[in-house]
């Protein structure tokens, strides 16, 4: 009788152990996932102390605190977007390396395309003029001098 009881006890202990192990592995897995997310997210965030480094690369105390805070938020189940919103609420759009498209950043986003358009138009106009000059009567010295 005692023997059976003992073996049951051992079996129970084993089961308990493995269950505990599974739990530990689960939380370790969740932690690892959060670390991966933290790393990915913090490369898109600016460290406000040394402004040309990302939150991932910065060793400033504030960056450390913010990484800690992001970790806590992620443990609470906040999504990446919610974490970003949390930081923007406090530090402004400047923390984002990818500025959002809005009224005050419109020039930043559209500016290059406007420049490209101006360049393209200029190029077309110049080429057209040149070809029309070439196709018309032979350019005399006087004409090209006038152009300058």
């Amino acid at each position: 009788m005692m023997r059976i009881f003992k073996s049951w006890l051992i079996l129970l202990a084993l089961i308990a152990c493995s269950v505990a192990n599974i739990h530990a592995a689960d939380s370790a897995d969740a932690d690892a996932q959060i670390e991966v997310r933290l790393k990915a997210l913090s490369t898109e965030l600016r460290c406000l102390v040394c402004q040309n480094t990302t939150l991932a690369d910065s060793s400033a105390p504030l960056a450390e605190d913010l990484r800690k805070e992001i970790r806590v938020l992620m443990h609470e189940g906040k999504t990446d977007e919610e974490v970003k919103a949390y930081l923007v609420e406090r530090y402004g759009d400047f923390v984002l390396y990818r500025p959002p498209m809005q009224a005050n950043t419109a020039l930043l986003w559209i500016g290059p395309f406007i420049m490209l358009l101006i360049g393209a138009i200029t190029l077309i106009v110049v080429l057209k003029k040149r070809s029309s000059i070439e196709s018309s009567a032979e350019p005399s010295e006087l004409e090209s001098g006038e152009d300058k």
Partner: protein
């Protein structure tokens, strides 16, 4: 033909205009999104008596200034004499020792004078994060409704005090 000559000149002046404006911008001054928003709530232990606490909610109905500082911060020491002077003129300054040890913070106040009506402590820096602090000293002016009306990033300068802070305090007190 004249236009051709003028266009590069116009472009030149546009570029110069942008660069000229850039000369007077400080990239370290990040405009706070908190100006115009309610001051984040916090309750923090007092520096001189950790059993008591100071809370932003206690200040409802009053105009007050919250100055975040630290004993390890050199710019805070530059600013300190001006704060002491402000206290003599009745400016309602409240201090928050940011990521500091109580002993170090107390030493500074003992040696350089205490400009604050109340000093609380933010040892972990959590309150600092809620207020968007990224480099002490930073100072906030909070109105009677508990809304942040102004943020000074870096030490308060005599010019900022005269031109912005004192007029704003006067206006808010009305």
């Amino acid at each position: 033909m004249k236009l051709k000559l003028v266009i590069p000149l116009i472009l030149f002046f546009v570029v110069v205009g942008f660069l000229f404006k850039g000369l007077y911008l400080d990239p370290h001054e990040v405009p706070s999104p908190l100006v115009g928003k309610p001051a984040p709530a916090f309750t923090a232990p007092l520096l001189n008596d950790a059993s008591k606490s100071f809370s932003a909610a206690d200040m409802k109905g009053k105009v007050w200034m919250l100055n975040m500082w630290a004993s390890w911060c050199a710019a805070c020491k530059d600013e300190h004499p001006l704060l002491v002077e402000m206290k003599q003129h009745g400016v309602p300054l409240y201090g928050l020792a940011y990521k500091d040890t109580d002993a170090d913070a107390q030493d500074v106040l003992k040696q350089m004078g205490d400009p604050y009506l109340i000093t609380a402590t933010d040892t972990s820096g959590k309150i600092g994060i809620d207020y968007g602090v990224y480099g002490v000293p930073e100072t906030y002016i909070i109105d009677k409704a508990g809304v942040i009306r102004y943020k000074q990033i870096g030490p308060i300068t005599p010019t900022a005090l005269r031109d912005k802070i004192l007029p704003l305090l006067k206006e808010l007190e009305k």
